[in-house]
Symmetry: D2
Subunit: 456 residues, 4 copies
């Protein structure tokens, strides 16, 4: 099979603080890591604005991608050791699927760009679509490496990532409710944030995982390890991913990009603060097929360099938002509910009276997530549910076996917040001019929650 | 004392994966962290090119600086609890020195720039001089915050950092052979590289540390903890800081900057690849007093953005070195000794024959360090030696009490390496053209060491 | 105040793998640790039979007791730093309560004996009653040390432990749903079993804990840390404390003691296998007031020595159960429900047919626990519920603030199991004699659960 | 091959806090663990008296033995994956040696008894001899299990342990300067003491280990990992194994056993404090071949039960030493040198004047160890030196490649101490009677070292 199965003369070992070591055993994996598209992931932070709240979280998509590859590799090893397929269709593991699985694990995030979450929201790009493009476009180094295996190999890898590949075991290794991607990012985000949560027992989960005819399931003896993983993931959402300060920085970033877009649409908008690589996005002309090369240059450092420059822009709003983003001056926020939602216009009015354009200086954000999700035939999108295999080979869906998981299944967890400039909370007597406005505003906030001052 | 001693209404707690939590208790510390000069440290990696070898090492000088502050804070707490000064000159701890110590700890690296080590080497800048400038220049936000304490306070903080402050206890907290700076970076670099080394017992060392009239010493009962710290540091040098691959990437970076400098000195050198913020350095006009503002914009992201652009430069050498740096294509290296040093010209000649300009494609690097250093009256530069206090109050210098430390005291540890393009090690038969040159070259290398092929 | 407040000349530091170090700062604490009653805790394992399932769990009540003391000490430190009482009744922390709290933390388990759980169940002793006796009986060294503070001091310490002390802050440090006792044992049991669960964020919880007029509460900002602690505790119950193998060993121990008791009641029952120190219990004459000295000699080593000897006893059942206990030959078990409960007599009959006395060779055990409990005015026994303090000082009960906790509040979690000899599961063809009985028995068990063979 | 190679139906997994999990894959290993001789190791502490200094160190030889087995298993796996023998004598790994290696790893300490170090010293027993006896004596369960493989199999296992087995790879896995035994105990002792030292990088060492024709060596790329292991081991000796307090408790134990022996030799010596199982040792009649069964009953719990009883013995010295041992009342100690050795009689005289029998209340102890040892043809006993393999296959002895190791090679490290009752250090004025003696004694001790008062 030539290149496809060429092992390295000598296994390469990469030290990784989360998984201890990453083992590179095949030439194709080494070559993929050395592509310019993959090396670029070193310049894309994994958690975007989160390092403004948890300063340790400076890790990148590069190490995460290596981690997903490594976990896939360990899963394949275990499957091959304990569940090798004897005859096609026996529902066990066919180790000739290993390379496609490992490549898909390594490349699953290759299309991510700087501050993806916010960037995609504002510019209507889609990192999954770009991932597919990078893998299948013959101009990328990634495609050229994959094509050495065979002309159809890039498409096979791409189809694993977009879940249309026919071997569900391979698909579920990369994409399911307990897959290599999620397991790596939970452990990694936990390690780098120092969050103490998310430290589930990877070794144990890898041990109880097994292939079966419809994909991947877990031995019943691993019930508690899976349960703990679900709860850890839930905690990471509540404490890290939904942290109000990170969401506040994201709000500022979104408004900064919006302002730049608006200015770019007017004559002389950004003048010499012209961000060349951003222009296709600001002007709405980006095409993922033809503009891939430019997109791949747009890393965190490039965006931050633009933002840094914009601090001196003549447009006051652009300059101020850039300063707030670059120098970490987050908005404050308060929780609102359906009941207090109607008070937001009153609050926005006060913010405007204090001299802030509400379009750029207020925002609402709802962050909700379902810690675990069972199959719902009526739902359009759904995740593969987690199945446990009993001693006699029959399957039980996780929430049926775990009281703890059952109680949180399908529940939306999170909160809705209203963001506003920190200035509104000033209490100094020497802010004479706006003091009555500030005082009035503060009547609406109690215990970080919006209240109706007339009722309290 | 006003501002100086204003505690925050509510202690701020920053999660840190290395020290668990950093506690901010004074308004002045909060305000310093919020300055633009300090926030900029988020964009300067702590270990420069090391993350190309240990990919987890993506931490920045921001978190390190918080860590040094936190360790200083803990030392002050312990000193105040156990050794509070009763009368001036009693050699115990005067807690009114706490704020100056904490500020100095926080700001000790404020002058660092992108890839400092290499950058300073090529452009003859000095981060220590710039640190002093940032603290004392009235135009910086840092200076403005410090000046609220009193007009002389910035100078006091600066003098702690440059070791001229009169209280040696404060100076040695920040600068000595077992100071808050070293302790934090060892633990932090160990954590993020995943190196397993460098994990000495911080709690124990902080416990046995004590003030005395000439500075800081350690209780004899802490001998082994200090010994282990010295050995851990030694191991980190050998395994992480002197890693050949990182040094190789640094060589490429140095040559890349040199090439840019040379091109900048000729007409139209860099054309539209013009790196505005680098120009004062490329042209040799940088003045730390007047050009501070520009220097402070030159972070890792800005430099990387330039390098990324240079990959398309018309100058082949600039473009190739930029590609090697950005896409991680390290040089290979071999150890040489005084005995084999004379063979290097022969090797360089072969490299030139294979088509590489030896000025840019070869280098030598000697990395040596003394794991521990005792006072030598004849030496110009020396570190304060580590003193242990016995039960009766008398002092013993560390290497007198520890056989292990004694054996490594004053010894230069490290190696000398010759760097060259990986291409020289090719063994493929299909590189016909240069095959004889490559073969010849490879006769000089055995077990990663340069040998004389005539003698072997 | 003399002895009461005598600090040690030099703080003693005990290395502890769980809490890093335990600090002894007062003479009274040092003296209590050195009493014969406290040193005896070195010979009582913390988790009884659990080390038969998790072999690392060989830790004793000695280290746990030191750990509880240390956590109490840290709580007092934090309270004194941040919430020192200014005027009596202000609901803040009065540091003159520190010593009574520390002593109570240290001594809270002083009455525990070997394999307490089972021992108490069989012999109707009560370690809490014995704890009170040890503290208040003038013949113990513990009482003699405490009495140096004042004649009423032993009673004060005892009243903290039995929750009648008037300062609820002190009581809740030792006994509440998030107290020093629970926090230490979760961390410690997790560390020694290696269970990966139970590793909540102690530092953070200690940080958000605060005194208030009715006891101890937690700042709302600590909600997620508390939530995680509750979930960790829940996981430890499910995975460690309720582990079927440990419960099976406990069943064997209980039956072994029962058999000995029965034999002791008949003439010549135990002959020369006479376990002197056990006799008052076997014969039912034990009185905690007068027989304290003997009770205090009855540690794990003594009991194990008896059991070891009994392996050679003439009574076959005693000898066999002793062998099963000493040489770890656990019973097997299967889950039963209300629905399958009625099948147990049939199973017992089969076990009897196979030659085992069902009285000693079968058992049922129901292990259930409520992970969190809110105050119920109708319930006789209840724990103090966990209260969170909002920014404005108002309190919210934990399950009101946490969806996760709310879903598990008041739920009984655990299972009911039927225990039987492993022999019943044999499938070898060469056990001809009982093969039909074994086969029949096995029809009742599927996926470790009892089923009705007629329905399956 | 029948029993020899019968894998278990389902791999058994034992949770271990140090190695995460121990995997049992063969019926023979499971059967050996279930023998009464192996289960007995649960009742023998790994570190004897060390838990009196580091209270967490309550782990037993049972978990250590499992750990050694597991490390051997991992070594075999790696060898079989990377260095499988193709032809006999090729110096690579022959996996048919795996079972004998795993059995030897599991059983290497099977002969250890309670407080072996001291016990052997006093009673002239030898745990290595007893290990051989247990493995080869047909009356043990261990022998019966091993014999199922073949009549010679017990002897093969025994010969690995006593280093006469012909495959040096197998021998060196169990016994060399970097073997599974040492690696497990360093990690384990470090984990349970909480000592922070000894945490070398096991994964890395297992990775760089390889078989060669004369045994086991390490790839040169693992130099630093090995270096760190040597230094960690060195630190564990200095800080844990040679800790003065543990040695002091051992002194008390030795004197206690000596006193019992002396009393046993006189009529009615121990009266009803008669320690049945100890009698063969006290009376000097023990024969390891015939008395094996009794020896195997003599675990820590049995000895401690005797000591506990002896606290009430009529012999004052026996009772006092038993009390000091059981209730942890260590002797104090001071360092002496060749120069101050001659002062010890003067000190002993003062101790006698204060009312203590010097034979039982003083002792000297010299604890020295060589952190690393190279082969010395003149020496009778020596360890296999550690060899590193270079890329070209040539070997370099460790101390030649490592400056750090070279500096400590062959050096005796440790100290000589004189032990005496703590009472001699009293300074209270109310000890009137002996005050002059105590004062005089204290003139000889300064900074925990014996000095000549006439010279100071």
């Amino acid at each position: 099979m030539g290149y496809y199965s060429t092992p390295l003369d000598q296994e390469k070992v990469i030290r990784d603080p989360v998984l201890s070591h990453v083992y590179i055993q095949d030439q194709i994996i080494m070559d993929l890591i050395n592509t310019t598209e993959f090396q670029r992931l070193r310049r894309i932070h994994q958690l975007g604005t989160t390092s403004q709240t948890f300063p340790g979280a400076e890790h990148t998509r590069f190490t995460h991608s290596l981690g997903v590859y490594e976990i896939v590799r360990r899963i394949c090893n275990q499957f091959q050791r304990n569940y090798p397929s004897k005859t096609p269709g026996d529902g066990l593991w066919d180790d000739s699927e290993r390379i496609v699985a490992e490549c898909a694990g390594l490349l699953h995030d290759i299309g991510h760009g700087a501050y993806s979450h916010t960037f995609e929201h504002i510019f209507h790009t889609n990192h999954e679509q770009i991932t597919q493009a990078i893998i299948t476009n013959p101009e990328t180094e990634v495609n050229q490496v994959l094509s050495k295996v065979g002309p159809d190999f890039p498409n096979r890898v791409a189809s694993v990532i977009n879940k249309t590949y026919d071997n569900q075991q391979v698909v579920q290794m990369i994409s399911s409710q307990c897959d290599a991607d999620r397991m790596d990012y939970l452990l990694r985000d936990s390690y780098f944030t120092g969050a103490q949560y998310g430290k589930f027992d990877l070794d144990r989960i890898l041990q109880v995982m097994r292939p079966y005819k419809d994909g991947i399931c877990f031995k019943m003896s691993g019930l508690h390890a899976i349960e703990y993983y679900i709860v850890s993931r839930f905690q990471m959402y509540l404490q890290v991913y939904f942290h109000p300060t990170s969401r506040s920085i994201e709000v500022i970033l979104a408004h900064l990009l919006l302002r730049a877009k608006e200015l770019a649409e007017t004559t002389d908008g950004l003048e010499h603060f012209n961000p060349t690589l951003l222009m296709p996005f600001l002007e709405g002309t980006f095409n993922p097929e033809t503009d891939l090369k430019d997109y791949l240059r747009l890393d965190d450092g490039v965006l931050n360099t633009y933002f840094s420059t914009w601090r001196d822009a003549p447009d006051k709003i652009l300059a101020d938002l850039a300063d707030r983003f670059v120098n970490r001056k987050p908005f404050k926020s308060a929780i609102y509910t359906d009941k207090t939602k109607d008070l937001l216009p009153e609050l926005s009015k006060l913010i405007e009276d204090a001299g802030f354009n509400p379009e750029y200086y207020t925002a609402t954000d709802n962050s909700y997530n379902q810690p675990y999700d069972v199959y719902d035939p009526k739902s359009e999108h759904h995740n593969a549910q987690i199945e446990l295999m009993q001693k006699d080979g029959s399957l039980v869906e996780l929430s049926q076996a775990s009281l703890l998981v059952r109680t949180i299944t399908g529940k939306d967890v999170g909160d809705s917040r209203f963001f506003f400039p920190k200035e509104m909370l000033q209490t100094d007597d020497n802010v004479e001019l706006f003091k009555p406005i500030y005082d009035n505003f503060q009547r609406y906030i109690k215990n970080d929650t919006i209240i109706d001052p007339k009722e309290n």
